[in-house]
């Protein structure tokens, strides 16, 4: 063993005594410690750093990580019906290959020329999502659906000079909490009041009478979702958009892009700003770490000037006929204007935008139609099967996409009891809604997608029958 071998760390090329000496000699310093002269000694560590043992052997590190992770159960080995903002969908292998490419995975920025391919992939994300949404402007994604809704609401407040947003009472409490933070507390000068609008008891959509009662000249925007947190499509989107327009406010619609091969895009019925999740488009659940949110609008300057993040535009180059891609209107962001910029921006989930681009290219119009149809049929098949169990009821049995609400009140069982029993059978039951929406009693939100086979759904229904009968 040479003296160097013991100190070399595989991730640090200069972790060798002779190299450090050569570099110190080059600059005329006596020791590395000397280079930290700017930090007063009273600022230095009071007690030495104590961390778990170094694992610089990759073999050892991998064994350690897998030993911990193997304590997780997965949706691969169990039958999963959880959704609620993070959904289990098929991720094509080509998507995994492309986002695993080191050129896309590791860098930070580059220039429009040096990292041309990445910029083009971003443009293709926006272009394809734009086709699904029927909208001409799509920003690179923000952190999540809730964050996208939050930014869209703030856009609307700036556009209208008004400080109130109406949201559905049946909104995801997580998303609502994110929105409330973006809307700022009442003590702040630019506080946006968040007002809930009741739901239509039959469809689960917005109650239009309550909407009309609450909308006013103070309203900046009305935010609705289709499909909503609880899975239902908003059947009266066009009427809502008209009401909102006549009040001089903006219509913001949240939509799961995966349904848009079969369902009308919100722009088609009057949405001004459209937001939604990007995780369904080719990103693994990652324990909730796969989420992202998009924002889109018409290509009107008044909207474009309010975007907070990165807009990637096609442009030309000095070579006739050649395309390039670069940021547009970047000066209006916080990078350009600090606190005068639109909200703020920074790192987000731009690698997932490439996953989304590859996913949309793979599916094409036929893939989106097929997956939409398959999900609709399987989810309804599951809901009907479950709804036929004695004591079990589907709360909104029609007009949903992939999620639906199952109520166990008449069975005399709590969701927690049902889910524990399902768990013993290797099934993750739906998300417990009993604390979020007490009015719905013992209800759970079930999600069925293209990853399920008929046999999986039959197995769930059979297990629920057994559990309820006990």
């Amino acid at each position: 063993m040479t003296p160097n071998q013991s100190s070399a760390h595989p991730w640090m090329a200069n972790s060798l005594a002779d190299i450090k000496q050569a570099m110190l000699k080059e600059i005329g310093a006596g020791s590395i410690e000397e280079l930290f002269e700017q930090i007063p000694s009273s600022h230095r560590l009071k007690a030495p750093l104590k961390l778990p043992r170094q694992l610089k052997s990759e073999a050892e590190l991998k064994r350690h990580l897998m030993a911990i992770l193997s304590r997780n159960e997965t949706c691969d080995r169990n039958l999963n019906f959880l959704g609620a903002g993070c959904w289990q969908h098929h991720v094509p292998a080509v998507v995994d290959e492309i986002v695993g490419r080191t050129e896309f995975l590791t860098p930070v920025w580059g220039s429009p020329q040096s990292d041309h391919g990445r910029n083009q992939a971003w443009f293709e994300f926006a272009s394809q999502l734009g086709e699904l949404l029927d909208m001409e402007v799509v920003q690179l994604p923000v952190y999540s659906w809730g964050c996208a809704a939050g930014h869209a609401i703030r856009m609307a407040a700036r556009l209208t000079g008004r400080q109130q947003v109406l949201v559905p009472a049946l909104l995801d409490p997580e998303r609502l909490s994110v929105i409330r933070n973006y809307a700022e507390p009442p003590e702040m000068a630019n506080h946006i009041e968040v007002v809930s609008v009741a739901h239509d008891k039959k469809t689960g959509g917005l109650d239009l009478e309550d909407l009309k009662a609450k909308i006013s000249a103070r309203t900046a925007a009305v935010y609705v979702e289709s499909p909503s947190y609880l899975g239902m499509f908003e059947p009266r989107g066009g009427e809502i958009a008209e009401i909102v327009r006549s009040a001089g406010a903006e219509t913001i619609v949240g939509v799961d892009p995966l349904c848009l091969g079969v369902v009308r895009p919100p722009a088609d019925y009057g949405a001004d700003i459209v937001v939604g999740p990007t995780q369904p488009l080719g990103v693994h659940m990652n324990c909730g770490g796969g989420v992202g949110g998009f924002i889109a609008s018409r290509d009107e300057e008044r909207y474009v000037r309010q975007y907070n993040g990165f807009l990637v535009s096609i442009t030309g180059t000095t070579e006739p006929g050649e395309y390039g891609f670069s940021l547009s209107c970047s000066h209006q962001t916080s990078y350009g204007m600090r606190e005068q910029g639109r909200d703020w921006t920074g790192n987000s989930v731009y690698l997932w935008a490439i996953a989304n681009a590859v996913y949309m290219s793979l599916l094409g119009p036929s893939g989106f139609r097929e997956i939409g149809e398959l999900i609709l049929q399987q989810a309804h098949y599951a809901a009907r099967g479950i709804g036929r169990i004695k004591g079990v009821r589907i709360l909104f049995p029609k007009g949903f996409f992939k999620e639906f609400v199952v109520n166990f009140d008449a069975a005399g069982k709590s969701v927690a009891q049902v889910n524990r029993a399902l768990r013993r059978r290797g099934i993750f039951g739906g998300k417990d809604l009993s604390r979020e929406f007490p009015a719905f009693g013992q209800s759970a939100l079930y999600c069925v997608t293209e990853v399920h086979a008929k046999e999986d759904i039959d197995r769930l229904v059979g297990a629920l029958k057994e559990i309820i009968a006990k």
Partner: protein
Amino acid sequence: MTEQNPVRGFHAARWNEPVVMELGHAGRRGQVFPAADRAVQKSVGRADELIPAGLARKRPPALPELSEPEVQRHYLHLAQETLGMMGISLFGTCTMKYNARVSEAVAARPELAEVHPYQPEETLQGVLEIFHFFDLILRELSGMDQFVFQPGGGADAAYTHCCLTRAYHKAKGQLAKRDEIVTSIQAHPCNAATAAAAGFKVVTLQLEANGYPSLDALKAAVSKRTAALLINNPDDMGIYNPDIKEWIRIVHEAGGLCFYDHANFNGVMGKLRARELGFDACMFMLHKTFGAPKGGGGPAVGAYGCTAALAPFLPTPVVVKKAEAYHLDNDRPRSVGKIREFWGNVPQVLKAYAWARAMGAEGINEASDLSVLANNYMDAKLARIKGLARSNPDVKSWRMEMTRWGLGPLKEATGVGTVDVANRMADYGIDPFWMSHEPWVVPEPFTPEAGEMYSKEDLDRWIAVIAEIVREAYENPALVKSAPHRQPIHQIKSGPLEDPNSWAMTWRAHRRKHGGTHGR
């Protein structure tokens, strides 16, 4: 070994790859999904009848129609048309480092990728343990009492701090009166921007002769209106503010909170602790300092840590350990609620934990040693190149892990500025450098940060390329100003990007405005 001529010939891949919207043939498929089982179809009927009246899509989306290998090859070509840190990327303020492939391989396993955050807690013990172990590591590095990983980046962590600042002062009944956040012009723009987005007025301190704002300027800015101080240290010039403890004392005395933006942690990790300096909260960028990849801008994590006094206000959930099991604590009545859905970019937390374990205390110390050594090594060699000027020339001490340089003299002599040089670097297979956040306080800035990954040979090559481009600038400025010449595309036209009649953020907008061509 030192290469005889470290300036290597290079040419990027040039595929002239069309936009995906131009590719394909009607009817081709890249993925197919099975029709629903017959029994399913029989039970529920046609899919379009399951959609509420009037909501069925009328026209199919105009997406490309491609076979699977066509899609694969298209995006592989785009990957190859991305330099993407395959060169040498000394991108200051971003701490470029190795993103271990073993971490990628483990994160891609179904034990993490195919896990749902609402699974029962007992089925999530592995991922919760990673969160807890890594929380303990960050506590040891910072002295803070609790970390969360919900913020989706450094800016989101600054925003998180602003949300906590609101909750903290609201709990004391002072929010209406405390409406100012103090920061410096050298702090990342996100500090000022998130403070404003959270509803605060922003007070920005300017730099003085030493390279940082003076104590007097701080004292003049701080008052009973001060809600918090958001500050980095060292700054992007490589200068450490030695008065920082006094700063914190002044802000605390006025009743404000102090947040340490640890974006520049690489030079001080293992050397100091945020809490020991007096800070109430700090954030670490797991996608920078802790070896998780940047992905061209996320998924990222701004790990946010704070003292026990602030912990009740943290976003939910917080991972806690009770009786040898891990739990998600959502029952926190004083919490700010959610900054973002779920608990954060979980795979990045795993990768950061893996990095911290592979490094250990000795590796982390060595990495800050090597980063600071490498930066001063670069400073010494860059100083010998004509046309370059180091920021704050009067600060004679060794710099921290990065230094801001300027090409002001080169620009004056040749007309070649920092954008031109950055464009030209790629022609030598070197990733374009980071210039500076706005405003540019140094003319024609660039900010190299060597980090601990790159070899001495890499650094020598980077410096040799700068020297070569400077030589070109003096001898043939037009060559540099028209760069790049060996890239996937030529220099872009930036005018259309700012013109509402020309910009096109989607292919459909492009077709409407330009008929689908830029002269093609």
